[in-house]
Amino acid sequence: MKILIIEDEQGLREVIKESLEKEKYIIETANDYLSGMDKIGAYDYDCILIDIMLPNGSGLDLLQELKKLKKKEAVIIISAKDAVGDKVAGLDLGADDYLAKPFHLAELHARIKSAIRRKNHDGDTSVKWNNLKLSPEQRTVSINGNELMLNRKEFDLLYYFMINPNRLINKTSLAEAVWGDYIDQADNLDFVYSQIKNLRKKLKDARAEADIQAVYGMGYKMS
């Protein structure tokens, strides 16, 4: 899987690159509009991350270019400008998703995976890990072929963990992804823990080869 990151901020480009390389993606980067244009024209990717505000051009123009070239890449806009207008324009121009800075890396992984999955919907869309198999469309989970009953929140939690296996997931990121945008304003996220405890117990009872551990102070990790 090849991913192109078009982002002018060096620091951000590097963390995204490092994080995605851990997921075994092949990463290429571009730091402005022109080099982004060169790469888009010359190579094919599975997914492209585009920042809207770039030196010497706009990410929206790159989207236009992709459309003109009839490219089929999954495109995710990452922008500091969480403006509704940009979001609508980007999605109209064929972007698959829109992620406002700052974002959690786990969230970025989830968005990339689901964007790529939607692009190649001819194949199997299920996510597998060890003896677990999760189908996002049917919202089912099976362990060694036996279905595991989970409620909505538990399912969403497990899905997030399975997209980011072996990765540390910040508890804020987890709460936002599962409970929605307003929950991050809650004074403490201890309630997340009680849900995870339930999920962990269900997984253990079903003999899943997966364990969710708390990482002190930061969040959780499934291994």
Partner: protein, 426 residues
Amino acid sequence: MKLRNYTLRYLIIALLFVIALWAGLFYAVILEEVYDNIDDGLKNSKILIIREAYANEKVLEVREFGINQYKVAPLAKGKLYDFSDKFISTFEFMEYDDDNEPVRLLETVFNDKNGNPYKLTIRASMVEEDELLEDLLTALVALYIMLVVSIALINQIILRKAWKSFYEMLNGLKNFRLGTGNSFTARHSPIAEFKTLGVELEDLLKRNEAIYASQKHFIENASHELQTPLAISLNKLELFVEKNELSEEQMMEIGRVSDTLNRLVRLNKSLLMLSKIENRQYADEETVNFNQLTEQLVEDFQDLADYKNITLSIDTKQPLTFNMNKGLASTLVGNLLKNAIVHNHTGGKVNIIISPDSLIISNTGRETALDKDAIFRRFYRDITNEQSTGLGLSIVNSILVNYKLKADYSFNGLHTFTITFPVKES
């Protein structure tokens, strides 16, 4: 006191003195003239009577006024008499109306053809002249009243006309609010001073508006610029922790840094949202079904509520719809609901009641009422909660202001927020 009444008051008082003085002078002059006239008539009679006395001795025998308007009294011979005319105003009884009436008398001394001195008194009634003076006084009073009334009226009309543009400007200023988009335009005035005032006001407010706008945009731009460095710091920390070479204690420390950064992110997001609401960047509106929206949010918050053992009860039997931006609608209800849960005690209650013209969220919590005037202010927050941004209710308030809605807070054991929606005409 209105300006026109203020000037009118002084005008009327001044006029009272001026007219009184003028009337006094006028009255004195006219009185003088009237007496002068009568006296001339009396002098004329004197000449006629004395001439007649020379021709006809009988004249000298008239001792009482009777039908004649004169009387003659003989004086002792050989004394020295004053032969000049003396005029006297006095009252005399008149049978005609059984009352004393004003008369004017001329007293003089004359010698007949034999050289005997006589005292002659000639009388002239002043009844008519007196009435004339009375009429004059009445006319003066009437004149004064008419003058005052007409001046008041004219003053009213002229002032109203002259100050019209001023009052329009005042009205414009009353309706003017910074940052609401209604700009102030001064109406054209024919009066130079008001024209200048209008132009200066327009200028001043335009400058204010510009400063206000740039201040708002500064907050927005600053928040935007903060996003990327925040993203980098947070993400770098996440990657750093993943390397797994840290002791538990070090992890905890980094966890705290990460929490603080997350708080900064929230604060930044809230500020950004606040300035976006104030800059009216949430333009697209639709009919929002608050029943659905609230039920959805209650579901989202259920786990948080369960964790604190809080009972959420919701009464959505009656429909409430309102035309607004959907994202803002859920922020509005979401923030209130979140507050109701977060600022609650374990085992507390949150009640939501939706009616066609209001949304009421009440909750248990602290035993004392909150400061009604301060809660909607930016960065007001409960001292016990350091994780809150202090912007939640400011955002609520900005949204309400944007849609001209009203929120009320009351405390009667429960902290109650009521949002009142306009009643729809059916």
